[in-house]
Subunit: 217 residues, 2 copies
Amino acid sequence: MSPTITAFKASPDRGRGLARDMRVRWALEEVGQAYDVRLLTFAEMKEPAHLGLQPFGQIPTYEDGDLVLFESGAIVLHIAERHAGLLPGDANAGARAIAWMFAALGTIEPPIVERSMATLVERDKPWYAQRLPMLEDRVRARLGELSRRLGEADWLDGAFSAGDLLMVSVLLRLGGSGLLDDYPNLCAYIARAEARPAYRRAFAAQLAVFTAASSGG
Amino acid sequence: MSPTITAFKASPDRGRGLARDMRVRWALEEVGQAYDVRLLTFAEMKEPAHLGLQPFGQIPTYEDGDLVLFESGAIVLHIAERHAGLLPGDANAGARAIAWMFAALGTIEPPIVERSMATLVERDKPWYAQRLPMLEDRVRARLGELSRRLGEADWLDGAFSAGDLLMVSVLLRLGGSGLLDDYPNLCAYIARAEARPAYRRAFAAQLAVFTAASSGG
């Protein structure tokens, strides 16, 4: 039996690979684990059947036999711990890779999401022009710190890990913002990750959902 | 050798136990692991010596022999995986506890921090009165979902776990906001956690740092 994940039936990102199912698809592709996908509408995500699996009414979830998981970070970690390829074998290096997972989701992603939310929800507000630079400064502060730590290395700590997978997934949300332009080493880091065959397979799979939904009218 | 953690020499929360070292102290107390503390000023946190340990210039860090970790979630998970008491023995239940850890830090904490930041940084701005209700609605939406999932249970998923430890740590940041008042089951959940001897020992330890710093004037 393959695990089943959930994803948007009509992703609000229009197939750009920014929805959080992409992280789980990518992890599954990295370790070579086949999976099934159950697509949900926004209305279905808020129904009791899905809330029983995901208390916040979001995607993705992960079901494998008796196990039901939510939170993309926890799902990626679960996959990484049960297959080779996403966590180093050395225990200390493994703990450090997990630290980068938490850093991606807890330190880097929140200011990025806060900025994105403002561009979506507050664009027409009178304060938008004043607040946006403040939000962008918060993102830049984190990008500068991350860029300094990465330096000229290929990945954050030795070989590619689940920490890089989540960090790149989070940084990709800045596409089109121009905020990455000042950090060529972060741009190269993202490009290196996007060139991975597993990333490309995962991206194609989520894009196919969008394309099918669009052509299905 | 005991592990060494870092904490604020002068915590901005004035000993209320809201700084992120508290989560690590609490975890160490739950599993009965002694630890040392190195206190840092804000200036020291931004110096190269600390940035080598913590790329974002924050506390806490965790040093144990050759291992250096950052991110309170990763540190708590590391402690939980190496000692009994913070993760259930059953593998599926363990994975679910880790999902609650990620939910605490990735889903519940960001809107709480966003609201707190606004009350600190934007209180004097002309838009504050209009934005605050929007930020509080975002927090309430998450609290409502969490309250429904918790129901009448003592803890989020079976026995007390590292997921509860992080979730309560995050909810405590709402103290004084009034936002928890509509959720008596969440208030009882927090009180249940605060009554744990390990929590009380950790709280006393961080308060002693503040008291010593104040009286040292």
